[in-house]
Amino acid sequence: METYAAEAAKQAPGYQPSGERGAALYSKRFGVSEKMPACTACHTETPDQAGRHAVTGKAIKPLGPRAEAARFTDAAKTEKWFRRNCSEVVGRECSAAEKADFILFLTEGK
């Protein structure tokens, strides 16, 4: 999270990560993908809950680190899933600011 926040602050001086913006991003219906219009399609409205893959029906461990401690501890894995899921659900890459907001929301709430 700190890495993304630092990168975002470099791009836009004065940037502060916001759990509120992260929450908005998490529940926003982008509607780019029919089966996965929002993060909540697979990860449910409550990220501390176990999710279910909208296409394969497979169980997904909670996304929130409070419920699943290993989340966001591996930088490469974090980046890989932001890359994949942002391009498919949001329809574009996510910015460093969005990523920092997102992780802050999942870690500490709004």
Binding site: K35, S87, E88
Partner: protein, 202 residues
């Protein structure tokens, strides 16, 4: 006297194009969650065709059998040198370098399929996912080498090798021809590949 003779039986040709198509589709859908089932089905098809090919490499017609085309690196090198000298050695079936590519692709398909399926079932850890990506990346590299080899071979022997993999017919001595298409085995191949890939995607 070289004539047009039947060299590749139907299971060899069908299997080849199922693997090629399956690999392309699986590669294109690898990063996508909405295409995840298609990815697993396509990759599963590549894997189950490769498994069939192992059996067919023993039970298949003459030029499909591993014993007829799997050679060591020395002979592969000899063949490549003969290409450079512009006096290429002619093989009715796979040349020794092509044979190595066939084996590499089959083994990589099995490694990629096994690690991919285990990842999909969430058995084993991150390393299986890494292995899946590594094996698949390496397989793509061998695919390009294979395609380059086929192009060079086609020019060197002045014979359309991709077309031979469609029709089954190549230039060769009449005594080298295989006796039939092995249609029954081709039906078995399709049934097996589709059914087991479907099962793998569940």
């Amino acid at each position: 006297m070289m004539k047009k003779i039947l060299v590749w039986d139907l299971p060899v040709r069908l299997g080849h194009w199922l693997m090629a198509g399956g690999f392309a589709l699986a590669w294109a859908t690898g990063d996508s969650e909405s295409w995840r089932l298609v990815h697993v089905f396509a990759g599963g098809t590549v894997t189950t065709v490769a498994l069939f090919r192992l059996v067919w490499g023993v039970l298949g017609s003459k030029h499909a059998r591993f014993a007829s085309f799997v050679r060591g690196p020395r002979q592969a090198l000899e063949y490549l040198k003969s290409l450079l000298r512009f006096s290429p050695q002619h093989y009715t079936g796979h040349n020794p370098a092509g044979g190595l590519a066939v084996m590499a692709l089959l083994l990589l398909a099995l490694a990629s399929g096994a690690s991919g399926w285990l990842t999909y079932q969430e058995m084993g850890g991150e390393w299986l996912e890494e292995l899946h990506e590594f094996a698949t990346g390496l397989m793509l590299a061998v695919v390009f080498v294979h395609i380059a080899g086929v192009l060079v071979g086609s020019l060197a022997h002045w014979e359309n090798l991709p077309r031979a993999m469609i029709t089954g017919f190549k230039r060769g001595e009449p005594g080298e021809a295989i006796s039939g298409q092995r249609r029954f085995a081709a039906v078995l191949l399709i049934g097996w590949a589709v059914a087991s890939a479907w099962w793998l995607a569940q």
